[in-house]
Amino acid sequence: MKNDYIIELKNVCKYYKLGDTEIKALCDVNLQIKRGDFLAIVGPSGSGKSTMMNLVGALDISSRGDIFLDGQNIEHLPESDLAQIRGKKIGFVFQTFNLIPTLNAIENIALPMIFHGVGKKERMERAEKILKEVSLTHRREHLPKQLSGGERQRIAIGRALANDPEVILADEPTGNLDSKTGMEIIKLFVDLNKKGKTIILVTHNLDLIKYAQKVLKIADGKIIEHRKIKQQKVK
């Protein structure tokens, strides 16, 4: 039976060493994220929100505590297992898009499937479908440098959906976009959430919080607020 919580953090701490000084980026964090949630993580620069995203996304390991992803404790797993978990269960969307410049739009979308052993035919069929979902079929063969910022981010979202993950982790996804394009991207997240995806949106733009269902505020490496909010429709 599936666990109600897709992500659970139990007493998680993350320390960084800076010379002889130990910096506590996160301290005794306990968090449960339900399947299908749309959670906005907010906080000022250096508050620990990126650290939390890295831990939740299995990009980094904690200094203490346990992190459960879909019921599985991902701490102490070898890097190869973590890579497989990232590829299958989490889709990343970055502020700077992070598309591979030598690959065209459809190849960028198909990239995670390569590392997941999906055959070329199936890979291209699925990528084609995703391309349609993000409304960029006409940009199929274009390289990232030939796309606008909004189009690049749509391709990045398409790539995040490649292996049909349950969780989409978006780190400042509208940070490099104008407000109109940014809203189009947020609308895409809302639509994906409606289709059952768990969305975790890390942002310092307080205007975006209202489109989420829950908000989590972090300051000085601690959760200072975690509550439900009234989700507003994207105009």
Partner: protein, 404 residues
């Protein structure tokens, strides 16, 4: 794996200019190695053929001088007709041919040259022709009773090759002011010395040059059923006794054609190894170039590596992509190098054939050479990429993504 190869290839394509510059090191090295080996193999093959023609049953006796046969000046060093007669009596010797080779002043029409005149006993001409692969293509060969007659190598009979005007049957060539009538033209042998030669009856040459009983080179043929090296040993013993010389202090050299070939092959092998070794240095430099490019690439693409890891790439995936990339640099560089090397070998062959008139220097392009060169270049590329690829694969995703 095919997909990893595609990812590697697309990266190389993106860095077109840098990829080409990196490959220069490899293709210069491979071109030099392929060119030298192909020419070396061709030369070795041609020499083997020459020795085949000479036959395994021949024993060559020369004086111990540094220069070519006929250059001995000291009385003690010179081989004589007496030595030749002594060799005839050695058990196992079927026949013996002696040659007199002397640099002489030659004149044809208004042109003069200082070159080799070769004296052969007309009675020995058939065995000599068989050894040297001589065939008369115009006129006739030397025969018993010929006096001031000559046969000439092929190149003498071609305009502007040795003489401005081609020598013909019936022409007159002067040796040290004495006229010799040309009675035959020899076919091309491919050996520039043979093709430039002027052959006259030995006794007549002795008279003209005032040389008594000198023999510049003696070739003995072994009787069938005898081992040439045993017969060679017997010749050494006989000559030692005849010339009153002690063991290891001989003034002459006796070698079977097989021993000569082995000696030549050994010396040639060392020369070739040194040349190929020097050429291989550029391959090492090329390898370092690839390593440098790959390290730069890892640094430039750190964020890309982080992204690939974030979307599910394992360390082994990253390792493979980078190894394919460096291997491809080597392989493509090697392919161009092989093509250039073949071109280089064939150009040298062409120049040697047209300018020097020799077909000894020919490029031998074999499948193992091409396959070996390509495999070697791929390996150099891959090995040069191992350290950068390992560095790339071990990057922590979180650190790689943060890299600016």
């Amino acid at each position: 794996m095919k997909d990893h190869f595609f990812l590697a290839f697309s990266n190389l394509r993106r860095r077109g200019l840098r990829s080409w510059l990196t490959m220069i090191g490899i293709f210069i090295g491979i071109a030099a190695v392929v060119g030298l080996i192909s020419l070396g193999q061709g030369l070795q093959g041609a020499i083997n053929e020459q020795f085949e023609q000479l036959g395994k049953d021949k024993i060559i006796i020369q004086s111990k001088t540094i220069g070519p046969p006929g250059s001995a000046t000291s009385e003690k060093l010179i081989l004589t007709t007496k030595d030749l007669e002594a060799i005839k009596n050695v058990r196992g010797v079927e026949s013996v041919v002696g040659m007199l080779m002397k640099t002489s002043f030659l004149k044809f029409k208004d042109e003069s040259k200082i070159t080799f005149a070769i004296g052969i006993n007309p009675e020995d001409i058939s065995i000599f022709s068989e050894m040297q692969n001589f065939k008369v293509i115009d006129g006739r060969n030397l025969k018993k009773g010929d006096g001031f007659k000559a046969i000439v190598g092929y190149n003498n009979a071609v305009d502007e090759k040795i003489w401005k005007k081609a020598v013909e049957v019936g022409s007159t060539i002067e040796i040290e002011g004495v006229e010799f009538k040309v009675v035959g033209i020899l076919g091309k042998t491919g050996d520039p010395y043979n093709d430039a030669g002027i052959y006259v009856p030995k006794e007549t040459l002795r008279e003209v040059l005032n040389v008594n009983d000198e023999e510049s080179e003696i070739i003995a043929k072994t009787q069938s059923g005898f081992n040439p090296s045993d017969v060679a040993d017997a010749i050494i013993r006989k000559l030692r006794q005849e010339r009153d010389e002690k063991k290891d202090q001989e003034t002459f050299n006796v070698q079977t054609s097989e021993q000569l070939l082995t000696t030549f092959t050994n010396i040639f092998g060392i020369v070739q190894a040194v040349l190929v070794g020097i050429a291989a240095i550029s391959l090492v430099v090329g390898g370092i170039g690839i390593m440098n490019t790959m390290y730069t690439s890892v640094l430039e693409r750190t964020k890309e590596i982080g992204t690939m890891k974030a979307v599910g790439a394992k360390n082994s995936d990253i390792l493979q992509i980078f190894l394919f990339e460096s291997g491809l640099l080597g392989l493509v560089g090697g392919t161009i190098g092989v093509a250039l090397g073949i071109g280089l070998g064939k150009s040298v062959e062409f120049i040697a054939a047209t300018a020097l008139g020799t077909n000894l220097l020919r490029a031998s392009i074999s499948f193992p050479l091409i396959f070996g060169a390509l495999t070697f270049s791929f390996l150099i590329g891959t090995l040069s990429g191992v350290l950068p690829a390992m560095q790339a694969s071990k990057l922590k995703p979180v650190d790689a993504l943060r890299y600016e």
